[in-house]
C-alpha cells in the first residue's frame, strides 16, 4: 500500500485509511474535518490557500465542543470588548492552529469576507489577532464560528499594559537600531575611500568632504539612535550609578566632539566611524533584550487565553453561568465534555473521566469517583458531570500556576553574563586610564592638543570592539550551527549557561519515552471478520488506547475490510460497545468485560485492552509507552561528561522506576505535580547547580520557566515551547546531546576570543598611553583585533559531531 498526502492538511498516511471521493478520485483526506474544510474553501473560492501553503503541513481540524454563546454574554463584553472612537467593537484574540503564512492569509481572508467585519489583522509571529467589527451586523460568536469552520480556534485575551508597553518599546528600538545600521553601513562605505586615500594620498579638500558626510551620519546615529544611552546615563547619574549607558554615551560623545574639532580645522584624524560603530553594536544587543521581553509578554497572554471564561453553577436545580471570581466554596459546578474545570473541587458523581495531561503529562484519561479531587484546568473527557467547589478561583491550581508562571517569566533566572561584567569593569578602567593619560601628558608637555590626541588614541585603541564582538560572533556561529542541526536557541546567552550546566532534569512522557502507547503483545490472532469488527470499533474513538490499537492494525499491514457498526456507544471510563448483525461487540478495560459478565483471567502491569464478541473474549492487547531509541545514548553521554541526570515525572513510581532502569537514570522522582517539579528546580538551584530542564507538556511549563535553560521538544505543547529557551525541532534526543556539544564548544571559543582581545589590549594600551601610537594606527589596529576575533570564531564549525 502506498503513502499519500491528505489534500487538506498535507500530512502523510497509508492510502488504505484515507477518505476518498468517487466524484474526485485525486483527493484524499485523513479525517472528516479535513474533508469538510477542503470543500468549504473550495466552495468559497479560497483554493489558492493550498498554493500559498507550499510544503507546510497543518494539524487536522479538531471539532471543539466549546460553546460559542459565551462570546455574546454581557460579562464577556465587559471584559474583552472595547469600543473604537468610530463606534465599532474591538476584540483581541489568540488564534490557535496557525502554522504558516497561508494560515494567516486564510483567516484574514475569511474574516474580511464576513459582513460587518471592518478590520481583521493577525500577527504571524505571536498568533495574536485584532478584530474590529460592527456588532449590529454580526455577533462575535458568528465570527468565532467562521474561524472554527476552517479548522482553527480563537480565544480572547486582555491586552495587558505590559503588552502595550513592550510592543511600543520594540518598535522604538527597532527604528533606532535600523537607523544606526543604516548610518554605520554608509560610514563604512565612505570609510573605504577615506582609508584607501590616507595610504595612497588624498587631497585635503576631498578628505574634508568625506569628514563632512561622515559627521552627518554620526550626528544622526549618536543623537537619534544613541538617545536611549544618554537617557539611561542621565537616570544613572540621578541615582548615583555608573552604568554601561554612561560609558557608551560618554565615550561616543567625547570621540564625536573631538572629531568635530578636526572637521572644523584642527589638525588630526576624525573618528566619526568609531562613534557610529559603538552605538550600533551596543544597540543591536539592547534590541535583542527588548525582543526577549516582548516574547515573554506574548507567552503570558497565550497562557491566560487558555483560562476558562465562565463556569456553570447549579443552584437548587437552576443552572447559572457565572464569572470565575464569583464562584464560592460549596458551589456545585457542572462541566460538559471537553470543558475545563474552572476551580478545584471534589466529584459528587460516581463515574467520570478527566484528561489531567496539563498536570501529569500523561495522555490517558483519569477515572474520577465520588469524593475524588477535581483539579482546575483539567478537561472533562467523559460525559457531563458535577462537582463541588472546595477552593475559590484565586486559590485553585490553575490560578496558582498562572501566577507562578507570570512571576517566573518576569524574573527568569539568568546567570550573569561574563562578557557584560567584564566590559563594565574594562570600560571604567579605560576611562580612568584615558583621564590619567590626558592629565599626565598635559602636565608633562603642557600641550593641550597633544594630550587630547593621546587620550583619544587610548580610548580608540581600547574601544571594546573585539571584546564586544568576542561573544556575539562566536554565539552567532554556534547558533547557526545548532539551527542546521534542528536546534533553535531563542537567545544567544543560553549557550553560555548551557555550557556551564551541571544537572539535566528530564521529563518521562514525550521526552525519554515516545509519549504514545504502542501495542506490546496480542494474546490471540484474529481472523479477517474479527479484524474488521475490531478496526471498525477502534476507528470510532479518539481515546489514546483505541488510536494505538488502530495504528497497530494498520502497521501490521492486515487486509481490513471496512464495515459499519451499529449503535456505537462510548461506555464512560471503560471502553466501547457496538452491535453488528445482532452480535454484541465490546472493546475496553477489564471493568467493561466484568460488568458484561465476561470472565477474564489475564493479569498485567501494562495498559490492557480486551476485545470480546457475543460474551466471548477474543483477544487481549498489552500496550506500553515505548522508550525513544536515543535515550540510552543520551544518558550515557551525560554520564561521560559528568552531568548528573534526573528524571521527574507525574507517572506512578512503578512505571517511572522501570523506565529509569531501562535507560540508565539513577535518580528518579515520580508522581510529581507541576508545582513539585518547579520546587525540585528551586532546590537543585539552591544547591548551587546549574539546571537544564527537558520537557514537552503543559505540566512541565512551570519547571521549564524555573530552569536555567529550558529545552522543549518541537512537537510539545504550545505553552512548553513558549517557555523554552531551546527547541529541538526534530524531537530527537540526539538534539539534546548536540546542544551540549555545540554550546560547550562555542563557549570554549568565547573564552579564547576574550583572551585574545585582552592580550591585544594589554599590549597596545600601554603603547598608546606612552604616546607611541598615532590615532590612525590605533583605529586600524582596533579593526585588526576585531578581524582576529571573527577569524577565530569561524573555526567553531570545523568539528564534526
Amino acid at each position: 500500500m502506498s503513502i499519500v498526502k491528505c489534500t487538506h492538511c498535507q500530512l502523510e498516511f497509508d492510502e488504505s485509511v484515507m477518505i476518498t471521493e468517487d466524484k474526485n478520485p485525486s483527493v484524499y483526506f485523513c479525517c472528516n474535518g479535513c474533508q469538510g474544510v477542503y470543500h468549504l474553501l473550495k466552495d468559497d473560492g479560497l483554493e489558492s490557500f493550498y498554493e500559498k501553503m507550499g510544503n507546510s503541513t497543518l494539524a487536522p481540524p479538531v471539532e471543539t465542543d466549546d460553546s460559542v454563546e459565551n462570546f455574546d454574554l454581557e460579562s464577556f463584553r465587559q471584559r474583552y470588548i472595547k469600543t473604537t472612537p468610530e463606534g465599532f467593537s474591538k476584540v483581541d484574540l489568540v488564534i490557535e492552529g496557525i502554522h504558516c503564512a497561508a494560515c494567516v492569509w486564510l483567516n484574514e481572508k475569511i474574516l474580511d469576507d464576513t459582513d460587518g467585519v471592518l478590520e481583521a489583522s493577525i500577527n504571524f509571529t505571536n498568533n495574536k489577532a485584532k478584530i474590529i467589527w460592527d456588532e449590529e451586523t454580526v455577533p462575535l460568536s458568528e465570527i468565532i464560528n467562521k474561524i472554527r469552520s476552517i479548522g482553527y480556534n480563537a480565544y480572547p485575551y486582555e491586552q495587558s499594559k505590559e503588552d502595550v508597553k513592550a510592543t511600543s518599546a520594540q518598535k522604538d528600538y527597532f527604528l533606532r537600531m535600523s537607523v544606526a545600521v543604516f548610518g554605520s553601513m554608509n560610514v563604512m562605505m565612505i570609510g573605504v575611500a577615506k582609508y584607501a586615500g590616507l595610504f595612497s594620498g588624498i587631497k585635503p579638500e576631498n578628505l574634508h568632504l568625506i569628514h563632512m558626510v561622515e559627521s552627518l551620519f554620526a550626528t544622526i546615529v549618536l543623537f537619534y539612535s544613541g538617545w536611549i544611552f544618554f537617557r539611561g546615563a542621565y537616570y544613572g547619574i540621578k541615582n548615583k550609578i555608573v552604568n554601561m549607558d554612561l560609558l557608551v554615551s560618554g565615550g561616543a560623545l567625547i570621540t564625536y566632539i573631538y572629531s568635530l574639532t578636526i572637521l572644523f580645522g584642527a589638525n588630526g584624524h576624525s573618528y566619526f566611524d568609531s562613534v557610529t560603530m559603538i552605538i550600533t553594536f551596543v544597540l543591536v544587543g539592547k534590541y535583542l533584550e527588548v525582543l526577549g521581553k516582548k516574547s515573554a509578554v506574548d507567552t503570558m497572554d497565550k497562557i491566560k487565553s487558555q483560562v476558562p471564561l465562565e463556569a456553570t453553577i447549579v443552584n437548587d436545580g437552576v443552572k447559572k453561568i457565572v464569572a470565575l471570581d464569583e464562584i464560592v466554596v460549596g458551589d456545585i459546578i457542572e462541566v460538559k465534555n471537553g470543558e475545563k474545570a474552572s476551580v478545584d473541587g471534589k466529584s459528587i458523581v460516581n463515574l467520570s473521566t478527566f484528561d489531567e495531561s496539563s498536570l501529569s503529562g500523561e495522555s490517558l484519561p483519569v477515572e474520577k469517583r465520588e469524593g475524588d479531587l477535581i483539579f482546575s484546568g483539567t478537561i472533562n473527557s467523559g460525559i457531563v458531570m458535577r462537582y463541588e467547589a472546595t477552593k475559590n478561583y484565586a486559590n485553585s491550581t490553575l490560578s496558582t500556576m498562572v501566577n507562578l508562571l507570570e512571576d517566573s517569566l518576569a524574573s527568569k533566572p539568568k546567570i550573569e553574563e561574563m562578557t557584560n561584567e567584564l566590559s563594565k569593569y574594562f570600560s571604567i578602567t579605560i576611562i580612568l586610564l584615558a583621564i590619567v593619560t590626558y592629565f599626565g601628558w598635559y602636565f608633562y608637555s603642557g600641550d593641550f592638543e597633544k594630550a587630547l590626541i593621546i587620550m583619544i588614541s587610548v580610548v580608540v585603541i581600547a574601544c571594546p570592539c573585539a571584546l564586544a564582538l568576542a561573544t556575539p560572533i562566536a554565539s552567532l556561529i554556534g547558533i547557526s550551527w545548532a539551527t542546521e542541526r534542528g536546534l533553535l536557541f531563542k537567545e544567544a546567552k543560553f549557550i553560555e549557561t548551557f555550557a556551564k550546566a551541571t544537572t539535566v532534569v528530564v521529563d518521562k512522557t514525550g521526552t525519554v519515552t515516545e509519549g504514545k502507547l504502542t501495542v506490546k503483545s496480542q494474546s490471540k490472532e484474529l481472523d479477517d471478520y474479527q479484524l474488521s469488527l475490531l478496526y471498525a470499533l477502534v476507528d470510532g474513538s479518539t481515546h489514546p488506547v483505541s488510536k494505538a490499537i488502530k495504528k497497530y492494525l494498520i502497521d501490521e499491514d492486515k487486509a481490513i475490510e471496512i464495515i459499519e457498526l451499529e449503535d456505537i456507544e462510548q461506555v464512560n471510563a471503560q471502553g466501547m460497545r457496538a452491535t453488528f448483525n445482532h452480535s454484541t461487540i465490546l472493546g475496553g478495560n477489564l471493568k467493561l468485560l466484568l460488568e458484561n459478565g465476561i470472565e477474564v483471567n489475564i493479569k498485567s502491569d501494562y495498559t490492557v485492552y480486551h476485545f470480546a464478541i457475543d460474551g466471548e473474549l477474543i483477544s487481549t492487547f498489552e500496550l506500553e509507552d515505548s522508550i525513544k531509541k536515543d535515550s540510552q545514548e543520551m544518558i550515557a553521554y551525560f554520564e561521560k561528561i559528568g552531568v548528573e541526570t534526573i528524571m521527574a515525572t507525574g507517572d506512578n513510581q512503578h512505571v517511572a522506576q522501570d523506565v529509569g532502569k531501562k535507560v540508565g537514570i539513577k535518580k528518579v522522582y515520580s508522581e510529581m505535580s507541576p508545582l513539585d517539579k518547579a520546587e525540585l528546580m528551586n532546590s537543585l538551584k539552591d544547591e548551587g547547580k546549574i539546571v537544564v530542564m527537558v520537557g514537552d507538556g503543559i505540566n512541565d511549563a512551570l519547571a521549564l520557566s524555573k530552569a536555567d535553560v529550558a529545552i522543549a521538544m518541537g512537537s510539545g505543547a504550545d505553552v512548553a515551547l513558549a517557555m523554552s529557551d531551546v527547541v529541538v525541532l526534530n524531537d530527537s534526543l540526539r538534539g539534546i546531546k548536540d546542544s551540549f556539544v555545540i554550546s560547550r564548544r562555542t563557549y570554549k571559543f568565547i573564552k579564547q576570543n576574550l583572551f585574545l582581545s585582552l592580550v591585544y589590549n594589554v599590549i597596545t594600551i600601554p603603547l598608546a598611553m606612552a604616546g607611541y601610537v598615532i590615532p590612525l594606527v590605533a583605529a586600524l589596529s582596533m579593526s585588526l583585533s576585531s578581524l582576529i576575533v571573527v577569524g577565530n570564531s569561524m573555526r567553531i564549525k570545523l568539528k564534526e559531531i
Binding site: E86, C100, N123, T167, L209
Partner: protein, 77 residues
Amino acid sequence: MNAVLKLELIVGLFVSFTLLAIFIWSVRKGGFDDSKKMMDGMLFDSEEDLRDAVRRENKQKALKEKKRLEMENSSKE
C-alpha cells in the same frame, strides 16, 4: 573631479535618505510589526490579493459611512 565627487555624494545621500524616510514611514505604519509575515510577504502579492485589498478598502469605507450615519441619527434622536 571635485565637482563630480560632490555631485555623486549629493545624489547618493538624496537616494539613501529617501529610502530611509520610506523605511521609517513603513515601520511607523506597522509594516514591520510582524517579522514572520513580512518575510512571507511575497505570498500575498498576487493580482487577486491586490483586488482583495481594494475590495477591503471599499468595504471599510462603506461600513464607516454607515456607522457615521447611524451615530448621527441616534444623536439627533
